[in-house]
């Protein structure tokens, strides 16, 4: 019972201040009044008393039902935590200017698709393919930008992904972007966490930030995926530079080494075309198949209809009572004496002459 009352609510609770009006039928009646010289003269009649009480109660029910219905009563839905298949996915998307070029490193022309447009299309399909995935979107160029915090509202996530093929900004500052993307994972445990980096290049990460990232990764322990959109002819992840092997000379290779050294599950996908990107995303989807707790809202129930039904019941009794009402004032006395059933249906009162 306490559970039920805790789950009841009203959209316009102030209407309930009118509820005392429902007691009006105890004092007033919608029936005709007829004066009698002495009500004690009438014999006790249990049937009349019962009918009178029924009419009063019907009036109470009608008024209370209408007032309750106007307040918009409802029973709240419960939030139930269930286990589904999915993951918390933090997408970290490169918005540097080069993402707007094709995989061949040119400005897209005609039917050609830029790297950003291909990612937009493929990631857009990824979001919402499984109903219980949670997504966060972070963009980075010179500075990291939180686009959409971790959410299960896939429409909003797709709106964020729809913006990624807009003209990008200048540079690729990957370190701070990684920090912000890691910060999107909530503190709740038990969910599978995946950090998906989508970029077409890499950059040197400041050693100071490297330490911060190592600390964050060892705390959050996400699965790390790097979707490297490689432009044709540009150095790949495995390529050693001709000269000195420094992070400045081969940032991609050294970022890969940094990720490998983090001690968390890590996969890199080198995609040189939209098809390869789609294949990589399918693989990520297949790998991230862990149980994830999700909250299901049991729908709330609108009780307004029920209140109107009760009010209609009360009103129906009132209207019938009104219809079957005898009129002692204007009915001829002969009628009255004959009409035993009618007279019995009300408290018998004699008219004052």
């Amino acid at each position: 019972m306490s559970d039920l009352s805790a789950r009841l609510g009203a959209t316009a609770p102030w209407m309930l201040w009118l509820l005392p009006l429902a007691l009006l039928p105890l004092m007033l009646s919608a029936q005709r009044r007829a004066g009698v010289p002495a009500s004690a003269a009438a014999p006790a009649d249990p049937l009349s008393t019962a009918i009178g009480r029924t009419i009063r109660f019907a009036g109470f029910l009608a008024l209370a039902g209408l007032i309750a219905a106007l307040s918009g009563p409802y029973r709240t839905g419960a939030r139930i935590t269930r286990i589904g298949i999915g993951a918390q996915v933090s997408l970290l998307i490169d918005r540097s200017g080069s993402m707007n070029e094709t995989f061949a490193g040119r400005q897209p022309s005609g039917a050609e698709e830029s790297k950003a447009a291909a990612s937009r299309r493929i990631l857009g399909d990824f979001v919402g393919a499984r109903p219980h995935d949670l997504f966060a979107v972070t963009a980075f160029s010179t500075a990291p930008m939180l686009v959409m915090p971790m959410t299960d509202r896939h429409g909003a996530v797709r709106a964020a992904i729809a913006a990624i093929d807009r003209p990008g900004l200048d540079y690729t500052n990957i370190g701070r972007g990684l920090g912000m993307a890691l910060a999107q994972f909530g503190s709740d445990v038990g969910a599978s966490r995946a950090l998906v980096l989508v970029s077409d290049g890499a950059a040197v990460i400041d050693p100071r930030i490297q330490d911060q990232l190592r600390a964050a990764v060892s705390r959050i322990r996400p699965n790390l995926y790097w979707l490297f959109l490689r432009t044709k002819g540009s150095p790949g992840i495995g390529d050693r530079p001709a000269g000195e092997d420094t992070p400045q000379a081969a940032p991609e290779r050294h970022l890969d080494l940094f990720f490998r050294g983090l001690g968390v599950p890590y996969r890199v996908f080198e995609a040189e075309g939209a098809e390869a990107v789609a294949a990589a995303v399918r693989q990520i989807e297949a790998l991230e198949r862990d149980p994830i707790p999700f909250v299901e809202e049991r729908p709330w129930r609108d009780l307004t209809g029920l209140a109107y039904a009760l009010a209609a019941l009360g009103l129906a009794v009132l209207a019938l009572a009104k219809l079957a009402e005898a009129d002692f004032a204007s009915a001829p006395p002969a009628d009255r004496s004959r009409d035993g059933a009618e007279a019995a249906s009300r408290p018998i009162r004699e008219e004052a002459a």
Partner: protein, 340 residues
């Protein structure tokens, strides 16, 4: 016994009774409210691209608040978050950032009711540290924001303090080559009217004091010099066309540049409103934005229920009211039957 002949006239008479009719109407209305489906109607909502200036001058703390002065960006964020519940459901909001000379679209329009939580979270996460450049070329950014709003079929809500950094050259700023009024919307002037110091930050985002007069460019010395340059000290047409001395000025202090923003608003056909505190954007925005038809639902039940309630109360109160009326009336003969 035979009741027929005696009941029929009674029923016929009762059918004409006012209180019976009131109760019968109330019954019909209550039954109608019980079964009535929501009616489909067309409501008006808005689709708006909010572009927020996140340049350095937006960190100025010149909004009085309970816990010390609040910065412009915090106040603007609070106002935008307060705006969301004031928009009709079905309205959509996109968000962009502005620094340097261009807006950066974070996401395309998102519905304000169903997707309220992520939208609110994204607004709460706006931070001046997201800025990718330090310059603040308001006019260029505004014009490109207008174009962006047109591309995503939305109105524009441009939140800025109007302080150009570097200052506009003497020859004036860029000119708007779009069609004024093609995109409707609102420029929101942010900041106090008095001059306030601008905080400065180190490369790790920590505040380290305020900008001083020599930290910022006080005069834009690109392009031709202004007309009064000849009268300046040390003027030399070839070697010192802007005079020999560094220009003094107040560009290191910030106030809302309202006349400039109003001029830009007039140029682009947008409306202008000043942000007076963390709220109050809904009114000016809804007045300035294009009303967009949205499928909506109208619930007829409250209207039906309220009428039924009024009729039922009338049926109960008609007797006492009429008796009272008769009592004060001139021809009080007897307390006769009431047949209202």
């Amino acid at each position: 016994m035979n009741l027929g002949p005696s009941i029929l006239p009674v029923v016929a008479r009762n059918l004409r009774d006012g209180r019976f009719r009131a109760l019968a109407c109330a019954l019909i209305l209550a039954l109608a409210a019980h079964v009535a489906p929501p009616l489909s109607i067309t409501r008006t909502g808005v689709a708006v691209l909010a572009v927020v200036d996140i340049t350095g001058s937006m960190s100025v703390r010149d909004y009085p608040a309970a816990a010390g002065p609040a910065s412009r960006i915090e106040t603007a964020k609070a106002a935008l978050r307060a705006l969301l519940p004031d928009l009709p459901c079905g309205s959509r909001v996109a968000l962009g950032l502005f620094t340097d000379r261009r807006p950066f679209l974070l996401f395309t329009p998102v519905e304000v009711c169903a997707d309220f939580a992520p939208l609110d979270g994204a607004l709460a996460a706006l931070d001046p540290r997201m800025a990718w450049e330090g310059d603040s070329r308001i006019a260029a950014g505004l014009f490109r924001s207008v174009a962006m709003a047109q591309e995503i079929d939305a109105d524009l809500l441009f939140v800025s303090d109007g302080q150009e950094t570097p200052p506009l050259p003497a020859s004036g700023g860029p000119t708007f080559d779009g069609k004024p009024g093609a995109v409707r919307g609102l420029i929101v002037g942010t900041g106090g009217y008095g001059l306030s110091p601008i905080p400065r930050f180190d490369d790790r985002g920590r505040e380290t004091g305020f900008l001083s007069e020599t930290d910022v460019q006080q005069e834009n010395r690109s392009g031709p010099p202004p007309a009064d340059a000849e009268s300046r000290e040390g003027y030399n047409p070839r070697n010192a066309p802007f005079g020999a001395r560094a220009a003094p000025g107040t560009e290191h202090l910030a106030s809302v540049r309202e006349p400039y923003l109003k001029r830009l608003a007039a140029e682009t056909g947008l409306a202008y409103a000043h942000l007076d505190g963390p709220g109050g954007l809904a009114g000016p925005l809804l007045a300035a934005a294009t009303p967009r038809p949205l499928p909506g639902q109208f619930d007829p039940r409250p209207a039906l229920g309220a009428t039924a309630l009024a009729l039922t109360l009338l049926a109960y109160l008609a007797g006492p009211l009429q008796r009272r009326h008769r009592r004060v009336g001139p021809n009080v003969q007897r307390a006769g039957p009431i047949s209202t």
